[in-house]
Subunit: 243 residues, 2 copies
Amino acid sequence: MTLRPTQACQHCTLRQLCLPMGLPQDELWQLDQIVQQRRPIAKGAPLFTMGTKFEALYAVRTGALKTVLISDDGTEQITGFALAGDLLGLDAIHSGKHPVSAIALESTSVCAVPYGHVDDLAGRLPTFRQHMMSVMSQELAQDESLHALLGQRTAEQRLATFLIALSERHRARGLSPERFYLPMSRADIANHLGLTQETISRLFTQLRNQGVINLHTRDLEILQPDGLRNTAGVTFTSAASSA
Amino acid sequence: MTLRPTQACQHCTLRQLCLPMGLPQDELWQLDQIVQQRRPIAKGAPLFTMGTKFEALYAVRTGALKTVLISDDGTEQITGFALAGDLLGLDAIHSGKHPVSAIALESTSVCAVPYGHVDDLAGRLPTFRQHMMSVMSQELAQDESLHALLGQRTAEQRLATFLIALSERHRARGLSPERFYLPMSRADIANHLGLTQETISRLFTQLRNQGVINLHTRDLEILQPDGLRNTAGVTFTSAASSA
DNA sequence: CGAGCCTTTGATTATGGTCAAGCGCTGTGG
DNA sequence: CCACAGCGCTTGACCATAATCAAAGGCTCG
């Protein structure tokens, strides 16, 4: 793997969102020492592959990825979409192998944090340790919301909730929550939500006809956020999880 | 909350499965100092309730619980079933509030581990810290399998997979993987798997007629483990998660 | 012993899946 | 710069799985 010169977390525009979040200056400095950058991953290429050895956590710098679990029979499940600032690989700590593959949805760059160093820092830096636990805990809670979404909601509610969650994630990144690009295909959205491509397409058409959204290819505009919330029925805590 | 005299993890029959797993003797001793026991929770009563302050992690000593997420509109989602040795509350670290309620399915006793002490130990004891991270990571991976189960599998495959996972959990506890009691109702199983009570009942009847299982009320006997695996179609890593 | 809940079973329905066909981007090479 | 190939998306017709509605039997516990 080609490494590029390290660029400081301190100066990263994602530092409020990513691993450095909430770290005091001296702890941040120590994190900076261990973060490595990788050369960009091309669209469609894997950052890591299911079953391979877990060596590092990854933070998305730019771009987007999907995490995919492939069953014995070849069935694929997209377990999440990772945007800039999201962390990947936490699910691999237990077994030492990645339980999913991470595939770039567009040209994507990431920071790599070797896990041995993460554990070391977690032992020495209380704020960092608490942050790591908090991030994992948050993902557990998000997975529970996602479970409720898949278990209890209609296709229409799932898609609306997904779009709201994406919108909120863009807002948290200081981007427009009303207009953004969908880096994933209709089939990807469908798979993630336990539906089919055709159903997603029909629902998009429906939302467009209702004047709730505007969508040309993958450029989404949310015209009526309240209409979308209304369609979603109930708000789940960020159900478009990252892992 | 009434506390009972502390009983040592060292002598607990669940120590191979529960928090003490893999801890060296000196670390185990320190864990023992902070574990508290609670008086039993009656069937149907909560160990903790959604929205309430997170104060401690809980380890199930005997009995079983379900964790339930309730939406604004009153819809309930059972996110998991906790058996003896399972840990509850990890999903609450992030927000400081429990995102789910934990309800006893039968008379249940638990050990409470105040979270401040957990963090303290995680800072001082490397093995314990790594174990905590590992447990959370494992739950993340299990949630991904569960996502695939709900997203890609038929009702029949979901139930078969659920029964296999339960069976494996009993095996891991040194109990019979072929004969065990179901502490949850048909409606609970249905809800957890994103199905209805009626569907679960029909599927049980079908599996019984096929000679794959024997089921009287809640006493389950797996007559043909291979038949069940065959029905499940694909094996997911312990998809009947605990949280 | 009785009330209430849990479970089973049947009849019917609806949501979303499957199959199929055609259109439209996008990007590549001539 | 344009043509074409290939993938992504849309739309339609039909179907199947599991939900809903309904009713009755069987545990369990007070």
